[in-house]
């Protein structure tokens, strides 16, 4: 049965979604239970998948849909392909989905009302799409799955207020342009190679030696443009901040950690597997330097925009844009450490973004204030929440032993290895900006006057914390916060193993 793990962990949320829809309107409670079960199953399965992949040393699991064996060396069916990298990201996706479902227990009735079942159906289908994207080995199937994630996210975002609907519309436009560019790129590849399987395309290009062909270069550019649009790399980021900050909170908490990261994974996959390192990092190609510089610009601009924001979620979304710059730059550094660092940063950034978004959502919900002054005096009022937020923030800044520190470590060493000092400087700069941003918040939370509580209380001895602050946050929101904060630390502690797995897997493809 373990041969079927990849498809099984896809099917579980799919069936879950069907059941949720059958519940019809209003029945949020059952839908919650169903999605807990289905996502729990798929997270367990993805753990097994990871173990299985680790057990086969360095190999990868291939799963032929419909059992069609290749004819004359070319896949005629669709093939799933899972290696350590894919298994790690799948685990992250399913876990984030599961934990986020816990978080959404109380929020769904409050924010989407009777449409709860549809929300849960959509979120499970989104997870199906993300896992499929990660595991598929077929360029066109990748497009279909990208569209699945896009459609679900359009709907999920548009379930929010009127601003959400508008930003979701912009997201539709941008997302469609991005996906269509990707589709065009795949079409060009198909015209030149006559196959759609990623490995087969690579081998065909290798055998025919089409690397210098104009159409292949254009196809590469198109696919990159598409993927960058979907991951909101800096000049193409316009849709992201509004979409994530006006969406329902449990949508934001789910999408912010995952969507951009998975697209980064797709980018790395396309770069290293579909086209291959020799083509991407070739000396006579102009784009290598250019894109590292683009990522530098993205990092700097994202940090500055985040610094300029007074709205909590907006600030976090701009930080995400800066982080996307990290990953794109790291992937393009043409050093194994850089790629592996970018990959490790996918995981760690997912963890810390998740942590920060949950904490921010709790704060906004509890204080009813979306500006930064919501944080005034929160260390006394809701210390548990603030502990989670602090861990996330420290990781964003990159202080040990949080995972943010180690991902910065690897990215910087990648930059030093490949001599891209501008990237190193940009990373350090953004950590400094993050430090400013977050310590500004910590100071507010630490000294700020609590609304409603008098001065002498707010400087009272730490022993008499007003307890209702803690009680007022339900466990279904605190537990996810703690799990995510814990995962930030755990990822940091066990970065050595993760990094060795990742770099081994990448060594295999880079040769």
């Amino acid at each position: 049965m373990t041969d079927h793990l990849p498809i099984l962990l896809l099917l579980s949320p799919l069936f879950g979604a069907l059941v949720c829809v059958l519940f019809g309107k209003g029945n949020s409670k059952n839908a919650w239970i169903v999605s807990m079960i289905s996502l729990g199953i798929s997270s367990i399965l993805s753990v097994f998948l990871l173990l299985k992949v680790l057990s086969i040393k360095g190999g990868d699991i291939r799963y032929r849909m419909g059992g069609w064996d290749p004819s004359s060396g070319y896949e005629v069916g669709i093939e799933l392909r899972v290696d350590i990298l894919a298994a790690l990201i799948v685990l992250a996706v399913t876990l984030v989905g599961f934990i986020n479902t816990i978080y959404s227990k109380t929020r769904v009735p409050a924010e989407v009302g009777e449409k709860g079942p549809f929300f849960y159906a959509l979120i499970q289908l989104l997870i199906v799409g993300l896992c499929g994207i990660i595991m598929t080995n077929d360029a066109f199937n990748l497009y279909v799955l990208i569209e699945i994630t896009s459609l679900t996210s359009y709907a999920l975002i548009a379930m929010g207020n009127r601003r959400a609907a508008l930003s979701s519309f912009n997201y539709v436009i941008m997302g469609t342009i991005g996906a269509s560019f990707y589709l065009l790129g795949v079409g060009y590849l198909y015209i030149k190679t006559g196959t759609l399987n990623i490995d087969d395309i690579h081998t065909y290009l290798e055998n025919e030696n089409l690397w210098t062909s104009q159409s292949i270069i254009v196809a590469f550019i198109l696919i990159m443009l598409g993927v960058w649009t979907k991951m909101a790399l800096f000049p193409l980021h316009g849709w992201l901040p509004n979409a994530y900050s006006y969406a329902p909170s449990m949508t934001g908490t789910f999408m912010a950690p995952l969507m951009t990261k998975v697209m980064v994974y797709v980018m790395i996959r396309v770069m290293l597997w579909l086209f291959g390192a020799d083509f991407v990092y070739s000396e006579d190609s102009v784009w290598g330097e250019l894109i590292v510089w683009m990522s530098v610009v993205a990092i700097v601009a994202g940090s500055f925009l985040a610094l300029a924001r007074n709205d909590i979620k907006k600030m976090l979304t701009y930080l995400i844009i800066a982080e996307v710059g990290y990953m794109v730059g790291g992937a393009w550094l043409n050093s194994l450490t850089g790629q592996a660092g970018a990959f490790y940063h996918i995981l760690s950034d997912a963890a810390m973004t998740f942590c920060l978004f949950i904490a921010a959502s709790i704060v906004i919900i509890r204080t009813g204030e979306s500006r930064l002054n919501a944080f005034d005096g929160l260390f006394r009022k809701m210390p548990l929440t603030m502990i989670g937020f602090t861990i996330g923030g420290l990781s964003m800044i990159g202080l040990p032993p949080t995972c943010g520190f180690f991902s910065k470590w690897y990215l910087i060493s990648g930059g030093i290895e490949s001599g891209h000092w501008e990237f190193v400087v940009a990373l350090l700069f953004s950590s400094l900006i993050n430090a400013v941003i977050f310590f500004k918040i910590f100071e507010r939370a630490y000294f700020g006057k609590i609304k409603g509580i008098k001065e002498e209380v707010s400087v009272a001895d730490i022993d008499m914390i007003p307890a209702e602050g803690i009680k007022s946050v339900p466990a279904s929101m605190l537990i996810p916060l703690f799990i995510s904060a814990l995962s930030v630390l755990i990822l940091g502690i066990m970065n050595k193993n993760l990094f060795s797995w990742i770099s081994n897997a990448l060594k295999m493809i880079n040769g």
Binding site: L14, Y63, I78, A158, G194, S215
Partner: protein, 249 residues
């Protein structure tokens, strides 16, 4: 903005055109896409392996059945997405029977509609069922079937159409369609081979491995058709009433 848009559009256009100079010409038989092993496999081996003369259907429902499954899911997502975005559960108790017929088109249109509706639906079912041998398949047939209900709604008003295709029923049908598709794949999985590997079903389906594939294709096409029908109608009814589902148009 306009200038910027124009500029970027032109840049993209030139980028795309610059690539076409080493593209195959129009109708080139020896282009990699047309003469490559994959497409030649589809053309030469399809009938031999699946007994389905319509290669498009075979590729759609068997070789790339995984794709098609997600394609159906996309439709499904669109349907429930529209409901999730647009549907407003206000006072949407359906209009009492005596009012049925107040809306909708005039007498002539209704008569024509009631005359041609059965044939439309019959043809739709034919397109679904005969997709193996002639152009057609689940999507086309499903769209026609959905269109027939839309026509009903146009002629007799949404309430009439809802009386035979209520919202609950649309959701059930949509889910059922995907359930048939995915369940069929799971059945293959239970029979001990890969997901959607229909050849595993020859023990329970008549006519050997090839016919098993052929029959399975019919099954999944039916699933697709169900989903498409339901979602088409629900899309129409939601969009036409801003999600109130009270009175069409």
């Amino acid at each position: 903005m306009k200038f910027f848009g124009l500029l970027s559009v032109i840049i993209v256009g030139f980028l795309l055109l610059s690539a076409t100079k080493d593209f195959p010409n129009w109708g080139d038989e020896d282009s990699p896409a047309n003469s490559g092993p994959v497409s030649s496999f589809y053309i030469e081996k399809t009938e031999e392996k699946t007994k389905v003369p319509n290669m498009v259907t075979a590729v759609l429902a068997d070789y790339r059945g995984y794709d098609t499954m997600f394609e159906t899911v996309v439709i499904f997502i669109a349907g429930i997405g529209i409901i999730a975005v647009l549907r407003t559960y206000g006072n949407n108790e359906s209009i009492p029977k005596n009012q049925v017929g107040d809306e909708g088109a005039g007498l002539l249109a209704r008569m024509t509609c009631s005359l041609i509706l059965p044939f439309i639906q019959l043809f739709a079912l034919y397109v679904v069922a005969h997709g193996h041998h002639s152009p057609g398949g689940g999507f086309q047939g499903g769209v026609m079937l959905g269109a027939s209900y839309i026509l009903l709604a146009l002629a007799y008003g949404l309430a009439r159409a809802k009386s035979c295709f209520s919202e609950k029923r649309t959701l059930v049908f949509a889910a059922l369609g995907i359930f048939i598709y995915v369940g069929w794949g799971v059945l293959c999985l239970v029979m001990g081979s890969e997901f959607l590997n229909y050849s595993a079903l020859d023990s329970i389906l008549p006519g050997g491995v090839e016919m098993a594939r052929s029959h399975s294709m019919l099954a999944v096409e039916i699933g697709v058709a169900l989903t498409v029908t339901a979602i088409m109608f629900s899309m129409f009814s939601n969009l036409s009433t801003k999600g109130r589902l009270d009175k069409g148009l």
